[in-house]
Every structure is written in C-alpha cells, then in structure tokens.
C-alpha cells in the first residue's frame, strides 16, 4: 500500500529537485533495481527520459515496474506468500519564462489491488541574482483500494500535498536547502491484509488476530534542512536533517551525511550514512489486552517505534564513445545500500516457546542494489 502517496511525493520531488532559470539537459536513464530483505524481493526496470524543446519547454516521461515476491513476517504469520506486479508511468511538462518555471504532471500506478492517479503543479522562481530558488508545489491524488480474493471490497483514498522548497547559494562553496511539506489523506488508509493480535486465553498460543482499524484521516508535516559543501575541486560533503510529525502521533528524526569524490575526469564515488528513528502511532500495539480493545487498532510495523540505519556507496563511470555518437556523454552507475531495521515494539511471533508479549523483538537487514546507465543527448 501507500503506492499512491509515493507517486504524489515522487512527482513533487522531481519538480523541487530541478532548478529554475535553466531547464535541465536532455537525458535518458535506464535502471535495474533490486530490494531483498525481510523475506521480500522486489526488482524490475525503471526508465526516465526528458527532452527540451526550444529551450523554453521540456517534457518528461517515466516508466517503472515492481515485481514483488513476498514472504515477509506479516505474510507468513497471518496470510500466504504471494507474487504481484506494479506498473507506474508518468508524464510531465515544463515551461520556462524568464526566471520562472511552471510544471504540470500526471502519473498512474496500477496493480491487481491498488490504483493510484496523481496530478501535480508547481512554480519555481529564481531571485537575488539567481542565488535563491523558491518552489511552491501542490499535488492531488486519487487512489482505489481493492483486496485480493474479495471482489466485493473497494474503497478510496483522497490525498493533497502542499510543498515549499527553498534552495540558497550561501558562499562560493556552500549551498543550502529548506523544504516543508504537508500531506493530508482521507479515506481507507489501512492495509487491507494486515491484522492486530490480542491476548486470547482460549487460543492455544495465547493470542488471536483481528483486522486492523485505522482512522479515516491523516495529516503529517515534514521540515528538512540540507546543505552541500565543496571541500576542494571535485570533492564535496553533504548533510541533511528532517523532522516529521503527524496527527497519528508519529514523531520522526532522520539524518544523513555523505561524501562525494570525483576521481580523475571519469569516476565519481559516493559514500553515505543515514539514520532514522521514530515513535510509533498512538493506536499501535504489538499485543492488545483483548479483542476490540479501542476504536483504532494497528500492528503495522511501519507505524511502530523503530530505527533504521543505512550504509551506502555508489560509483559512476562517465565516458564518451564513437559508437554512441548521438550521445554527448554517457555513464554507467552502480549503487548499493545496506539497511538495518530494528523494531522496539514489534515482536517476532515466529519464535516458539515464549509467553505472548515476550517474543524476541523483530529486526532484519535489506540489500538494495541499483544498476543504471544514463545518456545525455
């Protein structure tokens, strides 16, 4: 679930990342991605193409596929392993007029139990002699939620995202950014397959399951501050901090630091470390005292109190080749990230021989691989 939200945020992020005043160069990327962790494997291709017209207009097209094979702890304990496929495509248009860039876009994500449509618009303005870029953005999402094996179930999610992004050149070596974003959602926000567990003396294992019940609305806001500093020629460090809060009482802090090094004319190396910590939603519990204990019930581990740490590196090789004469330059890129997830109140109920609520806390590692080629034309 949450594919729709991802689409909305992705759309906004593509707009905010761009710089007003000059449209980005013509470019095409083909990427293979693979995620492997916690019993879940997801891989597939991704394609992104952008093309300028008359230096004032640009069009962007994207296509993305997830091929999911899941035997996660949630699936193993309350359902059956499954495989599915998700396809997403997007179209965007940009218009540059003097120091102002206008953007419009649309994306659609489709799979057998979830459809998401997203429309977005943004406006960016360069000012203070092009030292400052201010972007205001808005997106609207409409999702349809279904449930495999239950043709009678269908529900909706309505979503709005408001964003402000400020990019500021501070010195000859330092650039800073400030982003603020609010997301409001209304509708069926549950995962229709997830369950909560509660103490049940009549059960042989001491507990039973019932369906999750989420509130019908959610509003969250995130504020992020980031900076990038040029240490020396072809050498930079970056840092970022984000604070997130919402009306489900989730509070999260996320920080990342990284180092980028250009080796000769062709190679670029990246290393980065990311730390995320969050307090769980106020209606979350690993084990409720009884059935229907309260109005809202969740045991979705994404809403638990948890931390994640990422250790990542990337390497890019840029080149020009006579047999690719239609491209100005090309690059081959490899990225790898190891993510360690640790949960403070989500227990591994696959472990036998424990009293309910005393099972070991759940944790897992994920390997994330990206291999892609890029061409500028």
């Amino acid at each position: 679930m949450r594919k729709g939200l991802a689409g909305v945020l992705a759309s906004l992020c593509f707009t905010a990342a761009a710089t007003a005043g000059v449209l980005d160069d013509d470019r095409a990327d083909i990427l293979y991605h693979r995620y492997d962790g916690g019993g879940v494997t997801i891989d597939g291709p991704s394609l992104l193409v952008r093309k300028k017209f008359a230096e004032q207009y640009a069009a962007t097209a994207s296509y993305y596929i997830d091929m999911v094979s899941s035997a996660s702890i949630d699936v193993i304990t309350t359902a059956s392993p499954y495989a599915e496929e998700r396809k997403e495509y997007g179209l965007g248009f940009e218009y540059l007029r003097d120091k102002v860039t206008y953007r419009l876009g649309y994306s659609n994500s489709r799979e057998n139990d979830y459809d998401a449509d997203t429309a977005y618009a943004s406006i960016s303005q360069d000012m203070f002699g092009d030292l400052t870029t201010l972007t205001l953005s808005f997106a609207r999402g409409w999702d349809q939620v279904f449930r495999r094996g239950d043709d009678t179930f269908s529900d909706q999610v309505d979503r709005r995202v408001y964003g402000v992004d400020l990019s500021q050149i501070l010195t000859r070596r330092l650039i800073a950014g400030l982003s603020f974003e609010t997301v409001t959602e209304e509708g069926f926000l549950n995962n229709p397959y997830r369950s909560v567990r509660y103490l049940d003396p009549e059960s042989a294992v001491g507990y039973s399951y019932q369906a999750e019940i989420y509130p019908g609305t959610r509003t969250g806001s995130a504020l992020a501050l980031r900076g990038r500093y040029n240490l020396a020629e072809r050498m930079a460090v970056h840092g970022e901090y984000r604070y997130y809060t919402d009306d489900w009482d989730i509070r999260a802090h996320t920080a990342e630091v990284g180092y980028t090094y250009g080796l000769g004319d062709n190679w670029i190396l990246d290393v980065h470390y990311r730390y995320h910590t969050q307090d769980g939603a106020d209606f979350y519990s690993d084990l409720f005292p009884r059935r229907d204990f309260q109005n809202f019930l969740a045991r979705d581990k994404e809403l638990a109190t948890m931390t994640s740490q990422t250790f990542g590196f990337g390497v890019s090789y840029g080149f020009t080749a006579p047999w690719l004469s239609f491209l100005q330059k090309s690059s081959v890129n490899l990225r790898y990230d190891l993510i360690l997830f640790d949960y403070d109140d989500f227990r591994d109920v696959r472990s036998g021989g424990y009293e309910p609520g005393t099972e070991p806390l759940y944790q897992f590692d994920a390997n994330v691989l990206q291999l892609f080629v890029s061409g500028w034309f």
Partner: protein, 76 residues
Amino acid sequence: MRKASMVLPAVLAALALGGCAGAEPWVKPYERELLADPVMDWDRDPVSSSYLRHVYESREGARGAAGGAGGGCGCN
C-alpha cells in the same frame, strides 16, 4: 508544526517580494564554478534517488520534504 506552517510561508513570501527589489548577488555568476561541479548536484541522478526514497517511504512512518524522488513498494 501548525505554527511553523503559518510562519514559513510568510517568511518565504517576504523573501519573494525582496527578490523583486533586485538585490545584489554576493556570489557572482563567475564565482560559481565549484558549485557547478556535478559533485555539488542536489540530485545528480533523479531516477536513482527517486527509487531509494520510495524504499524508505514504504517501510517507515515518516514521509515528505525529501527534496527529490518515488516508485516501488512491497510493503506487505
């Protein structure tokens, strides 16, 4: 956060209006060579950062203000 959501647009609006006054840039265009290096890009490869950001959004409770990305799920 509610307070921040009201103050921030006001500050940004003031900055935007200030921009109309034609302020003198303290870093001249010819002094931005280091900033133009690809190692200084906020988002050098959008197709990649977009993917990785969605990996996090599917598995963590926080989202937004990421400054660049999306795509992919496997939340079950």
